[in-house]
């Protein structure tokens, strides 16, 4: 904990609300105006420094907003296991900021010490299931809490895959005890890219395990006449993804919902407007008090 910061009386998320991803270009506006939003989510790795203004700003904002730590670099799908130094840094962040959620991805990004800065796809096999469950158990033990695992967006699948992705996620949640972060845009992107039924995917997930929902924008390309959706988080949430979100809420009930926007960032009011739209969908759902995440 940094000197002079106190998290006593920090807010927690009591009911399912919409929040936004905190990006560097919006930090000043948040510090000065403290706009109303359900929670803030940050990429954990951006705060893995010894000190400096970025960490300080998040300490300030933590006093007024519930915070969710969303990791992109632990590489839970790496056959070689987790980087202990990276895990240690995450443990420190978790202690410093007391987030209400900690999440990571069903993906890999580190190999032989090189970090590839993308969420890379996995073959869904028994071996991968064992690797992912082992890594999640290690992460949960180190943090002393349950984490949420996010379903990926993907552009290709593997010949070796023998387990459908939704079933794979359900198995990971059951065996490791982790929760799920359901990225509805990722479901839509992967469903289009691989010719799957997005609604059947969502219905195949264990509803009680879902602790958070993500929404984001994507762009569309074509490869040899077939659509390929790119999950670039650079635009408003698309209409089919809003439809799928409302469907999801009907199936699993309301959950904290994040608007993710990472490239071509809009003014903060546009981002908050997307969150307000998600809040309206949540309000149309029967409210449900959240249990401990």
């Amino acid at each position: 904990m940094s000197a002079g910061t106190s998290l006593v009386r920090s807010p927690e998320l009591a009911v399912a609300r919409a929040g936004v991803g905190l990006r560097h270009s919006h930090v000043q506006a948040f510090l000065e105006e403290r706009p109303e939003t359900g929670f803030l989510e940050v990429h954990s790795e951006n705060y893995m420094s010894d000190g400096g203004p970025r960490r300080r700003a998040l300490f300030e904002l933590r006093r007024d907003y519930p915070v969710s730590l969303h990791g992109v670099g632990l590489s839970l799908g790496s056959a070689e296991g987790l980087d202990p130094a990276h895990l240690d840094r995450l443990v420190r962040l978790n202690a410093d900021y007391e987030p209400f959620l900690v999440s990571e991805h069903l993906a890999w990004s580190v190999h032989q010490g090189a970090y590839l800065n993308d969420l890379l796809p996995l073959p869904y096999t028994q071996e991968t299931l064992d690797v992912v469950c082992r890594n999640i158990s290690r992460m949960q033990e180190a943090l002393g809490r349950r984490i949420l695992l996010e379903n990926p967006s993907s552009y290709l699948t593997f010949e070796a895959s023998s387990i459908p992705e939704a079933e794979f996620l359900a198995l990971v949640a059951e065996k490791s005890g982790c929760g799920l972060l359901l990225d509805v845009n990722n479901v839509y992107v992967s469903a289009v890219n691989h010719g799957l039924d997005a609604r059947a995917y969502i219905e195949a997930l264990p509803a009680a395990a879902v602790g958070e929902i993500h929404l984001a924008g994507h762009t569309r390309r074509e490869i040899e006449g077939q659509p390929l959706l790119i999950d670039d988080h650079g635009s408003r949430v698309s209409d089919p993804v809003w439809d799928l979100y409302r469907f999801t809420l009907g199936v699993i009930g309301p959950r904290p919902t994040l608007i993710e926007w990472d490239s071509a960032l809009p003014p903060l009011r546009v981002l908050l407007g997307e969150a307000a739209k998600a809040d309206a969908c949540l309000a149309a759902c029967v409210p449900e008090v959240l249990g401990a995440a």
Binding site: G51, E127, T157
Partner: protein, 261 residues
């Protein structure tokens, strides 16, 4: 099985986009034979383009001096040979200045690697541990014979750099969005520090630089004063020391071991 697949995949992602050699990875895929190479290319582009953006953001003045196109070319070569060795991008680029100094196409512009070294020092200072700067008032509580034997502890953000080019002015012009002149040859010592939340950068005179170097090295004030006066006889020692104390170069002091300081 998974480990081997990840090795093949990782290698292919760091290859130049035009180079073939994806056959082994394509054999792992289930894409009905359609667009496998293009689908793989989405990942390769994500990896390489995003890392180039990270380097552009960490070295904006170096990029402006080199020309953005040239910088992107250099960055694409660098990331293939030296991808991030940690999964936190705020630490990516540590070896870039040294790599750039040996990058053949930039051999005629040695100031580029020097500017990269300055920008990386600023980056390190930005993310260094927080610490209260040493209070200058401390000197008033010490006796006159204690002061010469004082030694100081560098603030975690403090970096002293010596360059063969004058980089401070071009760097400042770049902050104002002005056209950046090619840096002039000539020795320049720059101190980077972060007493609070903002990174500062100041050019030191030769004597000041010698004093700062000695103090940052843990030597006593008397030894540092000797070193400073040896290169700049007219240096105002008191004002120079006060500048470092009030500016936050140090975070603590100690009494140096007699005779060894």
């Amino acid at each position: 099985m998974l480990r081997e697949m990840q090795t093949r995949f990782a290698e292919t992602l760091l290859r130049p986009p035009s180079q073939s050699g994806d056959r082994d990875v394509l054999a792992d895929l289930d894409v009905g034979g359609i667009g496998g190479a293009e689908r793989l290319a989405v990942y390769r582009t994500n990896v390489q383009a995003s890392l180039i953006e990270v380097l552009l953001a960490a070295f904006p003045v170096t990029a402006a001096l080199a020309g953005e196109k040239n910088f992107r070319f250099a960055a694409s070569r660098y990331l293939r040979g030296e991808p991030p060795n940690q999964a936190r991008l705020l630490a990516y680029g540590e070896g870039f200045a040294a790599w750039l100094a040996a990058f053949e196409p930039a051999a005629g512009q040695p100031w580029l690697a020097e500017m990269a070294r300055l920008e990386w020092a600023r980056n390190e200072a930005l993310f260094a541990a927080d610490a209260e700067p040493l209070d200058a008032q401390i000197l008033t509580r010490l006796s006159a014979d204690e002061i010469p034997e004082l030694a100081f502890v560098a603030h975690p953000a403090t970096r002293l750099l010596r360059f063969d080019y004058r980089l401070d002015r071009p760097w400042r012009l770049a902050q104002e969005g002005k056209t950046i002149p090619v840096p002039e040859a000539g020795e320049e010592s720059v101190l980077v520090r972060r007493p609070g939340l903002a990174v500062e950068q100041i050019v030191l005179s030769p004597g000041d630089a010698a004093m700062a170097a000695a103090l940052l090295d843990g030597r006593s004030l008397s030894k540092a004063a000797e070193a400073a006066l040896a290169v700049e006889a007219g240096l105002d020692l008191q004002a120079t020391l006060f500048g470092h104390l009030s500016g936050g170069t140090f975070s603590a002091f100690r009494r140096s071991d007699a005779g060894s300081g």
